[in-house]
């Protein structure tokens, strides 16, 4: 059985989006503009924290709500200030929200007995998909959708952002790999005279290769450690900046053990592989050629 | 006019925290057309002396005058210009630019001196012919033998018609036969009026010189 939700959480754009003109709702001056004793009968509303700050309104204040700028306004009593759940999809839109009881909003809109949607709680054991299918068989002018499908659809934005980040990460890894290989090659080539000398006095290729590889491992390990430290700092800075910029508690950058393990494994792997390739190339070359005489 | 005058040259430098007294008061004069050989055991200060005479190092004490100009008072730009136009250097390891051809290596100092392209190309050809390498003009330095490279280096040293050639062990990296070719070349150079100061271990090369200076422990031990 469908029941309307007790309190509909709806967004009303009260103007002032993008920091433009001031909102149409403002505190009703406490100068007796309301008939005495009417406060108690005013419809209660809850303001989002940012809206309350913008209006400089607190619990107990009255505000005027209208649908049109300059249109007929209805007074309402602020009974709560709330922090809305951080929604990444809306973080950049800078909309303000407030909550009213459904009949009050309907009266304001002049849309008696009309809603945008119902939230339906099913009895235990009832599968959302089958319930939705049953509703849709008799539906006319509405569709029933399991909440999970809504969530999937709503998260498409983040799927796109995630894929974009992945693509950037791949490009970065490729650039890093080339860079690492180049640097390791240069580093190892700098040692060619030393390597030539060692070969000429009888040191085995394996020994030289091992020494160069060990160097590569050390460089890769220290570099990975430094990079990790840098990443942690950057993550803290990113969150601090964007949380302030968007006035939200959303976490924008999250460094998890999995991310750390993957990154370190990749950088170590790339560094060691690059060093090994460079070292192998060096030990393959004849000593006299390394010495510059061949 | 005396070409080069060195007075009481001293040179100390630090090596692994210790002070090395490479030169301990050396004086000498080089006249136009001179052919001087500086010989001595390793570490006697021969190359250090040559570097000071050519203005590529500064003495700890003492002075060097080239054509009457005290080198230690000149700013780097003027010193460089003097080396470009008045002195030619020949090194033991040739030090040609491997990516350039023989002709391009010879043209390098002329390009720096602002000689027009056509003129310097012609002069490079002439100089390489003079040193017997007319057939190797367009070969890269890496394609030349040791003796050929040294002859290109000599041609390069002659590019701007210097009054003086300073050579540091010019036959050090060459076999005996090739060394004799260089010896012949130096003889010809000196006969054509170029003053030569040659640091060498090579007895044959030293014997060719009209004056021989022996050095030991940073001092001139004998001069003749």
């Amino acid at each position: 059985m469908m029941k309307p939700a007790g309190i509909a959480a709806l967004l009303l754009v009260l103007g002032g989006a993008q920091g433009g003109s001031p909102p149409e709702a403002g505190p009703v001056p406490p100068d007796g503009s309301l008939p005495p004793g009417t406060r108690a009968s005013l419809p209660p509303i809850a303001l989002e924290r940012r809206l309350a700050r913008r209006l400089q309104a607190t619990v107990g204040d009255t505000v005027a709500l209208s649908l049109e700028p300059g249109g007929p306004a209805r007074a309402a009593l602020v009974v709560a200030v709330y922090e809305p759940p951080s929604d990444p999809a809306r973080v950049a839109r800078r909309e303000y929200g407030l909550r009213l009881h459904l009949p009050d909003l309907a009266a304001l809109l002049g849309a008696e007995d009309r809603v945008d949607r119902f939230a339906v709680a099913l009895r235990e054991g009832v599968a959302p998909e089958s319930a939705a299918a049953r509703f849709n068989r008799i539906a006319f002018g509405f569709r029933a959708v399991p909440s999970v499908a809504i969530a999937n659809q709503a998260s498409q934005t983040f799927v796109v952002v995630s894929r974009f980040h992945d693509a950037i990460a791949v490009i970065s890894v490729v650039a890093s790999a080339v860079f690492l290989l180049c640097i390791m090659l240069l580093k190892v080539e700098e040692r060619r005279h030393d390597a030539a000398l060692m070969r000429l006095i009888g040191v085995r290729r394996r020994t030289i290769f091992g020494a160069l590889l060990l160097e590569a491992v050390l460089v890769a390990a220290v570099g990975s450690g430094l990079g990790l430290g840098l990443a942690l700092l950057a993550s803290v800075a990113t969150n601090a900046y964007y949380q302030r910029f968007f006035d939200t508690s959303l976490v924008f950058s999250l460094v998890t053990p999995g991310v750390v393990a993957f990154s370190v494994a990749l950088s170590l792997g790339l560094g060691v592989a690059a060093g090994a390739l460079a070292a192998w190339r060096l030990v393959r070359t004849r000593p006299v050629v390394l010495w510059g005489r061949g | 006019m005396t070409l080069l005058r060195a007075r009481d040259l001293r040179k100390d430098y630090r090596l692994d925290g210790e002070v090395v007294h490479a030169l301990r008061g050396v004086s000498l004069e080089i006249e136009p057309g001179d052919y001087v050989a500086i010989a001595g055991p390793s570490g006697s200060g021969k190359s250090t002396l040559l570097h000071l005479l050519g203005g590529i190092d500064a003495p700890t004490a003492g002075s060097v005058e080239l054509l009457g100009r005290p080198l230690e008072r000149l700013p780097d730009r003027e010193l460089t210009r003097l080396r470009l136009t008045k002195i030619g250097f020949v090194f033991q390891r040739f030090h040609l630019l491997p990516v350039l051809t023989a002709a391009e290596n010879v043209e390098l100092p002329m390009a720096e001196a602002g000689v027009p392209a056509r003129e310097r190309r012609q002069r490079a050809r002439d100089l390489l012919a003079y040193v017997g390498l007319a057939h190797r003009i367009n070969h890269r330095a890496t394609q030349l033998s040791g003796g050929e490279m040294q002859r290109v280096a000599i041609a390069r040293a002659l590019a701007n018609r210097p009054a003086l050639i300073l050579a540091d062990e010019p036959t050090g990296e060459l076999d005996a036969a090739t060394g004799r070719e260089i010896l012949d070349l130096f003889r010809r150079l000196n006969a054509d009026g170029t003053a030569l100061v040659v640091v060498t271990h090579d007895e044959h090369l030293a014997a060719e010189a009209r004056r021989k200076i022996h050095m030991l422990d940073g001092r001139i031990s004998t001069a003749g």
Binding site: G141, R163, F164, I171, C182, E190 | R81, L108, A157
Partner: protein, 394 residues
């Protein structure tokens, strides 16, 4: 320069890797430069594509941002048209509606427009709507497919559905005049368009004469900012924005991408400088003997410095050239990813090549090449001649 090129060929593997590294970082730099301005340029082109420089929407909103509407559209239009600098005003209404397909209903997006003054579609096939054509409809191709209708067919559009009575308060049968590409549709969006009055009926907005927004075209030579200010004063209950102001709002929403592109672009530059500087420094160190000899034979410091900088530049420019090609490919790939954003107009692109962006990328790359060569050049110029020659001899 020729010597610089030849010097790079001395170590083909090393130079090849460095070129590859510079190419990849240049590609990233180019993509980030394109990204930083691309979507704004794309959005601006979309808004100005039909020549309307001003948008009027409900107070505090941007066009199509919310379901808010403007009442009294006819009066408002007259007010706007009374400004001497205004050439044309096109009101439009966007709404959700349904069409019959057999026994089922198909959900569509509807545009109510004035065909004589519209900025929402381009006709692709068939005939356009005439200004008073209350019997015609234009379909997008996805809508035509969804309804199963073509040009000349009659379709039933329903509005204001009542689930209790399973009926529609409004139903109109319209003839498909043509197929249109709706400029603000996302990929695959099924859209239909009728004259404004018909759509107002379907959306139950006729009584209050409501529209979603209006487009305004200003006469050539008029001062756009002044016109915007006048219209704001004339219509205080509406939000009036020039296309430039809309782009600025849009830019604010896309702050993340702009900042990301700045950060990644800067990192790319840093990596390029590091790579080229490291390569050049090691190269200079290897060639100190050569350099000392050149100084000994009278080659000045300036010439040495220029030589090193030339090599650094050649490496950066050559790698950069490759990077431009690679960057074009990666830009297309990244654009494919980002344009999959739900609800994004299909006409929008994130990576828009334009001369200014390309010039910026090229200039930055050149500066990078010079910067990367500075330290190794100084190293080369300051190499002590005698000490270096001594070291070479041992």
């Amino acid at each position: 320069m020729p010597a610089a090129l030849r010097n790079l060929r001395r170590h083909p593997m090393r130079s090849g890797l460095a070129l590859a590294g510079v190419a990849v970082t240049t590609a990233m730099l180019l993509d980030m430069v394109l990204l930083s301005r691309g979507i704004e340029r794309s959005f601006e082109r979309l808004l100005l594509g039909r020549g309307y420089q001003i948008r009027v929407s409900p107070k505090g909103t941007l066009p199509f941002d919310t379901e808010a509407t403007l009442a009294g559209a006819t009066a408002l239009r007259r007010t706007l048209e009374s400004d001497p600098a205004v050439e044309a005003v096109g009101p439009f209404l966007g709404t959700s509606l349904h069409a019959r397909r057999g026994d089922s209903l198909v959900t569509l997006f509807g545009y109510g427009i004035d065909p004589a003054a519209q900025a929402l579609y381009q006709l692709e096939e068939g005939a356009d709507l005439a200004p008073g054509d209350t019997a015609g409809v234009l379909l997008s191709r996805p809508a035509a497919q969804a309804i199963g209708a073509g040009i000349g067919d009659t379709v039933s559009l329903l509005g204001r559905l009542d689930p209790q009575t399973a009926s529609a308060a409004v139903e109109r049968r319209l003839v498909v005049r043509g197929l249109a590409r709706w400029l603000y549709d996302y990929r695959g969006q099924p859209s239909v368009g009728t004259v404004l009055a018909v759509m107002q009926d379907l959306a139950w907005q006729r009584a209050e004469d409501r529209v979603s927004a209006m487009v305004v075209r200003v006469r050539e030579g008029a001062d756009l900012e002044a016109v915007v200010e006048r219209l704001r004063a004339a219509a205080p209950r509406a939000e009036v924005n020039s296309v430039g102001e809309l782009v600025a709002h849009f830019r604010q929403r896309l702050a993340y991408f702009r900042q990301l592109s700045s950060i990644l672009g800067t990192i790319s530059l840093g990596v390029t400088v590091l790579l080229v500087a490291t390569l050049m420094t090691i190269t200079v160190n290897e060639r100190l003997g050569e350099i000392a000899t050149l100084r000994a034979i009278g080659i000045g410091r300036g010439t040495i410095v220029r030589g090193v900088l030339a090599e650094s530049l050649v490496l950066t420019v050559a790698g950069g050239g490759l990077g431009v090609g690679l960057g074009s490919v990666t830009a297309r790939y990244l654009d494919q990813i980002l344009t999959a954003f739900p609800g994004l107009p299909a006409a929008i692109s994130f990576f828009v090549p334009e001369p200014r962006s390309l010039a910026l990328a090229a200039g930055t790359l050149l500066a990078t090449g010079v910067l990367a060569g500075v330290y190794p050049a100084v190293l080369a110029a300051r190499a002590p001649i005698a000490a270096t020659l001594r070291a070479e001899a041992t």
